[in-house]
Amino acid sequence: MSIEFIYPEFEVIRDQSRCIGCRVCQRQCANEVHSYDDDLKILKSDESKCVNCQRCVSMCPTRALKIVKSDCTLRENANWQNNTIKEIYKQANSGGVLLSSMGNPNPLPVYWDRILINASQVTNPPIDPLREPMETRVFLGKKPDKIERGKDGKLKCNLSPQLELSMPVMFSAMSYGSISYNAHESLARAAKELGIFYNTGEGGLHEDFYCYGDNTIVQVASGRFGVHEDYLKAGKGIEIKMGQGAKPGIGGHLPGTKIVGDVSRTRMIPEGSDAISPAPHHDIYSIEDLRQLVFSLKEATEYKKPVIVKVAAVHNIAAIASGIARSGADIIAIDGFRGGTGAAPTRIRDNVGIPIELALASVDQRLRDEGIRNNVSLVVGGSIRSASDVVKAIALGADACYIATAAVLAMGCHLCRTCQSGKCNWGIATQRPDLVKRLNPEIGSKRLVNLMNAWRHEIKELMGGMGINSIEALKGNRLMLRGVGLNDRELKILGISHAGE
């Protein structure tokens, strides 16, 4: 056995007493784990290729398959854990940077799970969402400092363009290229049906999807792929992507193998060429440059679109947000360090950035301290996992949440974290036509709609319990939150009391 050998991470357990030899596992595995032995008339597996995406497990009609973690381990060592050692072997073998996908999987604190929500008892009544109206509509965008009246004394509408959402959740940026045509179509259709928005990411907007423009946010990122006048005008809002929670401080790289056909056309780059997004925008080296880009985009779209500036949650996020709030941007999107990605260097994904809960709390407070909270709306993302995460985020001060991992999970993703391979068995993070077709947008969009409707119900239940019947009254309502098991410093940053106080 050679020195570079690493024992497979998973084992494919096939219950031969259940296997009927239908070979669906073999046909469905793009990694070619399963094979049929014509002589023995049985299916066999090569677990070294398995990424544990669970496609075969889900498709097997007799539940004859399961994937388990291999129990072949190195000698236990709390400091030099198995994974650490294996990564060293891999690097010693390849000399390369380790790549990973999706969000940071490490056991770092999830503050959402240390925050509890209030409910009304006796002194004021909870409200039953089945009997009373319960409102979840929000408007994102800058609010003017003062009202204005016309000569007749009537109020004048002096609002700048706003994004209207039926509930405070949007699908965050995932580019066409990093995810498939069918995944984009699912998101677009669901956003339209739900009255929310999806985000093109930095891959341009496929011509077939211009019809979903009223529910689209178009992104302008450092590579400027797919950006042209019609594109900017196609969406309801424009997002400038400065950074991403999974990989703050670095750009993106979509390999040439994925730049095929429509992806190349939509990105406006030659087929087969690597799409490299630089780490910075090369026209933005400082805050005043950002202001210029914000207003260039507004000029190009006749001041009809709100501009979102998306940044990764990093140490100095409060000051950065304060700068953005004064840059002419209408909305700030902050992406926490647990946010997902189609591919990122492992070291960056797992070690750079800060939790969204803390970033949100400090940004919201800072903008209030400076009296400029009304200049911008705040959207947060980076592992919003459930309706209760949404409620906690709103109560900490967010106007709305961005979700992407939850959305791809709804479409079938099983978080195997190998998007970078391009062989997504669920038809999401792939451009291979035979795999792309596995995601039927009719099913994908329906599941997204179901998920959001379920969350909306849960949000209403939680709000009703607090005696709140409109989401505005929850925004920044930190009194509705208590911490458990958090230290004084954490509570202070979150701006909440400890449970029992």
């Binding site: 009304s120 002194t123 004021n124 009544p125 409200i127 009373e132 109206p133 409102e135 509509r137 929000v138 408007f139 609010k143 003017p144 003062k146 009202i147 009246r149 009537k154 109020l155 509408c157 609002l159 706003q162 209030r368 009296g371 909270r373 009304n374 001060g397 607090m466 005696g467 709140i468 019947n469 409109s470 505005e472 009254a473 929850l474 925004k475 920044g476 309502n477 930190r478 009194l479 509705m480």
Partner: protein
């Protein structure tokens, strides 16, 4: 135990109000009596009154009512005040010793005019200047609590049942054209006089029954504009919201109530009057953070009028009655009947629908 302001204390309450549209004055007796049948809505941990038109001889001066912990804090406070105000009159507020009210602080009033030079160097108008000074005094001067700061009006409050508080302050000896009253049922309080209601800022006073669920959303928003919620009560934050919307933003009373008790989106969408519809959409989009949810019934007092408002679901009782020039508002009909047994036209306003009563134009108030 933590003092009010260091901790948020929810409470239930009784409210009542009476106003003469002709600006005719009445003594405090009527409103004190109104609180008696609602005795069980209070628990003896707070009662208070706001009276408009009681200081006609000092009409143009700000009447500052203070609680002082001791003589030293009063002296400190006077030093502070003298830097910014001309003190025209300084006196103890007369009280009656009764067994029901004990442990009173030093209760003092000043009639003051802000120094013109100070106002102009602050680059704000006189009202804004005084409002800022009220916040500063309450934060910076230890042992002093300024709880009434309007012109030709005053607040009187204490720990006790409201009818006793009225007797204690000898309100039967004051004459005003508009009165509001409050009896408090806090769930927990060390019994601090400052925590009693009404809560006032400049001429605005609020008596409130309820516990709003939007409190911290409202508080954290309004604090951006220089307000400091030192008491952590609903009444305080609603007063600041009204001050912000009416005095600082210039909204009308009706528009302000469409912000704090906004109609549901479905109601707005069904409106056939396009102009009205657009106005409501604008107000909800412009001031989402000032929507107040949860149960409340409030009577908002201002110079020359009252406004009564319920939360949009009407989760608290409130009735209104009329008789000639008089308008009465109370948590319970019984309270109105005590004030005027021949009252006509009693109704319960719908949730979110303001009842605005103003003294006729031309009456010198």
């Amino acid at each position: 135990m933590q003092l009010e302001g260091q901790v948020r204390i929810p409470s239930g309450c009784a409210i009542a109000a009476a106003i003469s549209r002709d600006g005719k004055t009445m003594t405090g007796e009527k409103i004190m009596n109104a609180m008696k049948p609602m005795h069980d809505r209070s628990n003896g941990l707070g009662g208070g009154f706001a009276a408009y038109g009681i200081y006609p001889e000092y009409r143009d001066l700000y009447a500052f009512h203070f609680f002082f912990k001791d003589r030293a804090s009063r002296k400190d406070c006077e030093v502070f005040l003298k830097e910014y105000f001309e003190i025209v009159k300084s006196e103890i507020i007369p009280t009656r010793k009764i067994p029901e009210i004990t442990d009173e602080p030093i209760i003092w009033r000043y009639f003051v005019a802000p120094l013109k030079s100070m106002v102009s160097s602050a680059q704000v108008d006189e009202n804004e200047f005084v409002a800022r000074m009220v916040m500063r005094v309450n934060i910076e001067v230890s042992g002093a609590y300024l709880f009434s700061s309007g012109k030709n009006m005053g607040t009187f409050k204490a720990v006790g049942f409201p009818e006793d508080v009225g007797r204690f302050y000898r309100l039967d000896e004051y004459e005003g054209y508009s009165w509001t009253a409050h009896g408090r049922y806090p769930t927990n309080t060390p019994g601090w006089w400052g925590g009693a209601h009404p809560f006032t800022l400049l001429d605005y006073s609020i008596v409130h029954n309820g516990e709003i669920s939007s409190y911290d959303a409202n508080r954290r928003f309004i604090e951006m504009f220089g307000y400091k919620c030192t008491l952590q009560t609903d009444t305080e934050v609603i007063t600041y919201i009204m001050d912000y919307l009416i005095r600082r933003q210039g909204l009308t009373m009706n528009e302000a109530s469409s912000v704090i008790a906004a109609p549901f989106w479905s109601t707005i969408e069904n409106k056939t009057d396009t102009e009205d519809k657009e106005k409501h959409i604008y107000l909800r989009t412009m001031f989402p953070n000032l929507l107040v949810t949860g149960p409340f019934s409030i009577v908002f007092g201002f110079r020359g009028g009252l406004m009564a408002l319920n939360d949009r679901l009407k989760l608290r009782s409130m009735v209104v009655g009329e008789h000639d020039d008089m308008v009465y508002i109370a948590s319970e009909e019984a309270a109105i009947r005590v004030m005027d047994n021949n009252v006509k036209n009693i109704w319960a306003p719908s949730g979110g629908e303001p009842v605005i009563v103003k003294v006729r134009e031309g009456v010198n108030i």
